[in-house]
Symmetry: C2
Subunit: 448 residues, 2 copies
Amino acid sequence: MRIDRLPFVSAEPEDLLVYGYDASKLEGRPTALAFPGSTQDLVELVRLAYEEGLSLVPRGAGTGMVGGAVPGEQPSVIVSLERMNRIMEIDTDNLVAVVEAGVVNGRFQRALKDKGLFYPPDPASLNFCTIGGNVATGAGGPRAIKYGVTRDYVLGLELVLPDGSLTTTGVRTAKGVVGYDLTRLLVGSEGTLAFVTRVLLKILPEPEQVMTLTSHFPDARTAAEAVSSVIHSGVLPRTLELMDQHSLSAVEKFRPSGLPVTGALLLVELDGPGYVVGPDLEKVKEVCAELGGTVTVARTSAAAEKLWEARRSISPALYSLRPTKINEDIVVPRSRIPEMLDRLDALSRESGILIASFGHAGDGNIHVNIMTDRTNTEEYSRARALVEKVFVHTLDLGGTLSGEHGVGLTKKPYLSMELDPVSISLMKHIKKVFDPAGIMNPGKVFPD
Amino acid sequence: MRIDRLPFVSAEPEDLLVYGYDASKLEGRPTALAFPGSTQDLVELVRLAYEEGLSLVPRGAGTGMVGGAVPGEQPSVIVSLERMNRIMEIDTDNLVAVVEAGVVNGRFQRALKDKGLFYPPDPASLNFCTIGGNVATGAGGPRAIKYGVTRDYVLGLELVLPDGSLTTTGVRTAKGVVGYDLTRLLVGSEGTLAFVTRVLLKILPEPEQVMTLTSHFPDARTAAEAVSSVIHSGVLPRTLELMDQHSLSAVEKFRPSGLPVTGALLLVELDGPGYVVGPDLEKVKEVCAELGGTVTVARTSAAAEKLWEARRSISPALYSLRPTKINEDIVVPRSRIPEMLDRLDALSRESGILIASFGHAGDGNIHVNIMTDRTNTEEYSRARALVEKVFVHTLDLGGTLSGEHGVGLTKKPYLSMELDPVSISLMKHIKKVFDPAGIMNPGKVFPD
């Protein structure tokens, strides 16, 4: 391979092994790995790979849940953007920043905090995942209810197309309607259209205060009802996270932090100037009390951090219940969450398979965890069959199959449950516009 | 023509005349007019037109400023969506609404207000323009600084493609990352890709209070500096409108309302619960006072409405200065507004042609009005030549040629000043995906 001559390309067996899988636990075998250090490096690589007929799989930090960074059948180069990790610019006057794709979300957040600024999108993997990966998946996070998702912060992109040509999209301003919106077309395109090398982001002033509180309810259904009531009270919390009983007890087994192990819990954050947060808190207390909820305010930042550690540990903690987790990130309209939870309970009872639910209840985004054991073939296949049933109920309630993880490999068999053939055909043709040779992350998103 | 047989098609000469132009004052001559009353009507029309080789020009209320709804050279059917004007659904639980494309923005706003709800995008033509037209242009408005633009509220679309096929895009939830974002690709596509027949919109609870105030400054530069200072104080007003001296004096000539006629004025709206608006006002007063601004609060809703009437009358009032107005809606990063105003002043001085500036200073979106007289050929050609100079300065300061009007016919000669050839080529190929026959609003956006 001619690409071997590039100083930033490796074909070492241990590298090929390590970079062959991602957080989906799916695995593939790349032909080579590339670690470009600049857009110029990437352009050189892409041109050579194009000539050699190699496919290209862009990779951020490999924290994706749907196998989007796992190589497929075609001879593929995994292109890790991790070395392109410079924060190029933070414009405090106009509240925009420019970062390279490999900048880790959490590092960017800390750099902004030092200047009194704020970048809201906060996927649970924020201390590892990259902004480029966030753009590729259209990542969300707990703060989406108030602040929106990655899509709402990406103002422009620098792109390397699969033929090695370079372009920039978007504008440095919130308004801008010159030509088609290539920027948002790329957000959530899962590395199938082009490489994102730089990202122009909208940023915000840091809120003066953040207050963290929990409200404990007798059951998940009531907690879900409280979510709608809070929003209708006129208060818009920046997070409204739901943990069901299974999630709570898993966390307490895994890393005890004094959470209740019965009922269900809402984890709520309020932010803004002091003159907003105080009255907002009173409203939330009132609304929760009406539904039998007990509100506890985290009085110190350490206490608040402990609650968030518990929240972030749900995902690993669930493995203490069963060894294998099938994790889907469905969304339903907020008012349908109670019904969705009822239907998940029914599916769990009928199948005898545990389903733990938690997630971003404020925007209807529920992480549904079907807990099973991959080595028990019979049970595992029944568990897998539950996925489609969960999706049927999700769509029946007006929802979507993925709120923030994307389609990748794991959800592509279900794509046509949500999208009609006309839309899928348009998307496949748009892919051909960007990638006529079909070498950008092939085999992802669209069923063959 | 076979389309003549359709009961909702007209070829009456007076109809052809009236629907041949739009607010750009450009004019064309359509072959026929169609007024479909439903998606089914439209599908039938599109199929027949496709077979007959007729082009299709979608039209909302014809309030567009760039000639997007004006027929070009090809034999074209103007398709007015005005009869498709039903508000299909207002979901108060999940804060989404479904409207047909022909629903007038202001009517939708009033229907929501009756339910204590709120749809922020408010172009100056809101009492005439349609939601479908807002989607086509990616319309903005004064409230964009706090609440964003049309793009930020469109969750999904029903589309009729130029071959008559039907598809729906998007989801009813804020999160959703299944497939490419066709929804946002369509927003701002100026009727060149497909017909938008229904729009799924995010809506908000109505803010408890709105407070309107003005701050008068000695000159436009200082007023523009105050805009940045207000935002850095942590207050996010829902509008921050700037009127320069020319705009103020034109309004006072046209319809006297007691505004100052020297210096420059900021028109500011604060909204939220009472416990937010009060302290926010104190901050704004303080910031403006530091820069020599004098704040006056509108104590009654009638007084506030009078200010907004004055603001909305700038555009017609400018005709009292000169008979012809060349109106561009450039955007620059907020901190560059003072410099842009200086450069506009210099252009005006050098050319001897009056330039009046006003607009959405909060988001850097300035309506630059080059005032001239079309019948004075020599002056008019110098005035037209100023447009390109304005654009050169706009781009030099990191801005964009259009914040909310779009490209249409009037800006297409300048498209390649902002977009590189790779992006333009991608866009043209995307157009071919949706419209292989090239019959959707041909001749718009892209230079030939």
